[in-house]
């Protein structure tokens, strides 16, 4: 690394740290007490656990877009594989021991994932953590060279990947069709809707994280494939 780069980085980092320190020391006492507001309103929200209530009711629009971000990343990964086809996917260590360990662990992990999802309504846990745990078990499955039947069928996988966002958008739109504000669920239905959305999200998050792993070019890889488009396009 060049000396200039080092000096620039050090200056930038130092200036940045000083400015942040100043901002923290000089900060005013906040006038607004949002946690109290959350507590006051939580009875009307779709979940009793405050964080789940914030994520899936008070600020559900953020979460909706965030699910979009994850799906978007997966779509880009798919698109790049189309532009640059991979060789056959031969990942997996496939030793009997690993297989045995994983077949033992897998049901346990699925159980943990389901519990974490269910817990999210009242205590720490929820769709994102559950999705991550399920994705991790999927990864273990792949490491062992096992393949879940049907998951390689593109359309079915696509549908499951998009399920979270689709259900969420539908849940957002339904109140609007009934004449309320977008995302404003009637109090009687709020809890059900939150649970349905959470289940769909868990599936899509788990598959999405797994797909991001799977769609990178595989480690055991053939020669670089020629661009399959023949005609040169403008725009280089």
């Amino acid at each position: 690394m060049s000396r200039l780069r080092l000096a620039a980085a050090a200056t930038a980092a130092l200036g940045f740290a000083l400015a942040l320190a100043l901002a923290v020391i000089e900060r005013p006492a906040a006038v607004l007490n949002l946690p109290a507001l959350v507590e006051a309103e939580i009875a009307g929200a779709g979940a009793l656990h405050p964080i789940t209530a914030v994520l899936l009711d008070f600020r559900s629009f953020d979460t909706l877009l965030e699910v979009g971000v994850l799906l978007l990343a997966v779509i880009v990964a798919y698109a790049l594989r189309e532009a640059q086809p991979d060789g056959p996917d031969r990942m997996g260590l496939d030793t009997p021991l690993l297989r045995a360990v994983i077949s033992l662990l897998l049901p346990l992990m699925l159980l943990v994932g389901a519990y974490v999802l269910w817990a999210g309504a009242t205590r720490p846990g929820g769709a994102f953590q559950a999705g991550a745990i399920l994705a991790a078990s999927g990864l273990a499955l792949r490491l062992a060279g096992l393949r879940v039947g049907g998951l390689d069928r593109a359309w079915r996988v696509h549908a499951l990947l998009a399920l979270g966002l689709a259900v969420f958008v539908a849940a957002a739109v339904l109140p609007a069709l009934a004449g309320h504000a977008m995302l404003d669920h009637p109090a009687t239905l709020a809890k059900t809707i939150v649970i349905v959305v959470e289940i769909a999200l868990t599936v899509s998050i788990a598959l999405g994280l797994l797909a991001l792993f799977r769609l990178a070019p595989p480690q055991v890889d053939g020669p670089v494939f020629e661009d399959r488009r023949s005609k040169p396009r403008g725009g280089a």
Binding site: A19, L20, L22, A23, V24, I25, E26, R27, P28, A30, V31, L32, N33, L34, L37, V38, E41, D57, F58, R59, S60, F61, D62, L65, E66, G68, V69, L71, L72, A73, I75, V76, Y78, A79, L80, E82, A83, Q84, H158, L161, A162, L165, A166, V169, A172, V173, A176, G179, H180, A181, M182, L183, D184, H185, R229, P232, R233, G234, G235, A236
Partner: protein, 489 residues
């Protein structure tokens, strides 16, 4: 102003419909994706027009999403700038989509282009309307990843390197922005811009937060000297993608910056404003100079974007600490500059793409002889060039005129010089293209014939960019609705 829920919901429909379209175009069979997208352009246009009508009848209004009022919930707002940008997005996206449908026919990239396109649209509309600083963060992340994905679509080494560079810049920019969010929430306990605007701004915390956020957003807008990622990304992408990126995506981060400065700017900020203006001035000259030196057509247009971004940042020194009249002129000029640059640059990229298709080469030198055979493509490029150079009657001229009046009212002679010098430079690089096009080169008389849809979309956008200058007065009054600049003349 309270309105019927159905009216207020228009704001959210403008985000939900593109998201649904993204899911749909991901799931539909390949051959239906473009068709479905083209059909969905109609309801999008209709929704945006209805929103415009609602603003005109009711004045600015907000939608509390989920029925939760701020600061607990997130609110979308319809004010002049938000609705104006939503309509501008329609005006750019519709021709670009039609162009893309023709351009991508039968190509592998088409497979996922449409899903990314719809995500891009959803995130843009979110950014125009949102009043919540964290929601804006998620919005720019969605926008950034969609834009990066679109750049990477071509899948060759050059496109992937450009996408990677763009992604790194976008990620760093978002983190800088997020640090500002952390400081603001830590200091004021709220994420809603409306609430933050009522707090005391004369504090180090607000100033540092605003500085960090502005830095991150300037990186995402590619303000000189943070612009290095832009030319390879905008110059190397597929043609309709280049048009969308240059016309709309960089404007989104600039727009957030405007919103933040309105809500949070502490008093006595003219030094920082002058600094931003100076960077803008450098951008105008550096971008223009680099554009002149490019050998590839689309890279020339990309550097022209770097230069034109500079004009937008002249807003800060012209509007801050200069008095009411000058500030209003600066606002009008900046809005008109933003709109006319979006239209003209989209037209220019589409026209450049058509020229490249016709000559089968990205190089400007290979344009020799095309002036005789493909006047139509060249015409669109030329009309767009009128807007970029800022000649009458284009919107670019009107914008520069307003900015110049603002500079004169505020006594900023330096900015007048920037506006004139930048205009000369842009004339130089636009004419460079024409000079090559009219060279009677080696006897070449065979050029490819781009499909009519490609030519017409470019021409329509170019003509609109020309006409907007003639009809600017009404829209500009309207764009001031709900801003600190008022409605009165």
């Amino acid at each position: 102003m309270t309105v019927q829920p159905a009216t207020a919901n228009l704001l959210a429909w403008l985000v939900m419909l593109p998201l649904a379209a993204a899911v749909l175009t991901m799931l539909l069979p390949l051959r239906l994706r473009a068709a479905a997208s083209l059909v969905l352009l109609a309801p999008m246009t209709l929704l945006a027009l209805m929103l415009g009508a609602a603003l005109a009848t009711h004045g600015p209004f907000v939608l509390a999403l989920g029925g939760w009022a701020t600061p607990l919930g997130i609110a979308l707002q319809a004010d002049g700038p938000a609705v104006g940008m939503t309509l501008l997005t329609v005006a750019i996206s519709v021709p670009c989509a039609i162009h893309a449908a023709a351009y991508l026919r039968g190509h592998a990239e088409a497979e996922y282009f449409w899903a990314l396109f719809w995500f891009l649209w959803a995130s843009l509309n979110t950014i125009w309307m949102s009043t919540d600083i964290f929601n804006l963060y998620v919005g720019i992340e969605l926008l950034g990843l969609a834009a990066v994905g679109l750049v990477a679509l071509r899948g060759d080494a050059e496109a992937l390197a450009a996408a990677m560079r763009y992604l790194l810049a976008a990620l760093l920019g978002s983190l800088a922005y997020l640090i500002g969010v952390a400081l603001l929430y830590g200091g004021h306990g709220s994420l809603s811009l409306a609430h933050l605007a009522q707090t005391d701004h004369a504090q180090a915390t607000t100033a540092v937060a605003l500085a960090a956020m502005s830095l991150g957003l300037a990186l995402k807008t590619a303000l000189f000297p943070l612009h290095a990622w832009l030319p390879p990304a905008h110059g190397g992408a597929l043609t309709p993608v280049s048009a969308l990126l240059s016309a709309l995506v960089i404007k989104a981060s600039f727009f957030i910056m405007l919103r933040l400065w309105f809500a949070l700017a502490p008093p006595g900020l003219s030094t920082a404003a002058t600094l931003l203006g100076l960077l803008g001035a450098f951008a105008v000259f550096w971008g223009g100079w680099k554009a002149l030196r490019q050998s590839r057509l689309k890279h020339l247009v990309a550097y022209s974007t770097v230069a034109q971004i500079g004009y937008l940042f002249l807003f800060f020194p012209l509007a801050i600490g200069t008095g009411e009249a000058a500030a209003r002129l600066a606002w009008d000029g900046t809005m008109l500059m933003l709109i006319s640059h979006a239209l003209a640059k989209a037209a220019m990229f589409l026209a450049a793409g058509n020229l490249i298709l016709a000559i089968g080469s990205p190089r400007i030198a290979d344009l020799a002889g095309i002036g005789r055979y493909r006047q139509f493509s060249l015409l669109s490029f030329g009309i767009a060039g009128v807007g970029i150079m800022g000649l009458p009657p284009s919107g670019g001229f009107g914008a520069k005129w307003l900015l110049m009046q603002s500079a004169l009212a505020g006594g900023g002679w330096l900015w007048v010089a920037v506006l004139i010098g930048g205009g000369l430079l842009s004339a130089a690089y636009v004419f460079k293209v024409f000079r090559h096009a009219f060279i009677e080169g080696p006897k070449r008389d065979r050029f490819e014939d781009p499909p009519a849809a490609l030519e017409i979309t470019a021409l329509v956008l170019a003509l609109v960019s020309l006409m907007i200058g003639l009809a600017a007065h009404g829209p500009l009054t309207w764009l001031r609705l709900g801003t600190p600049f008022g409605v009165s003349e």
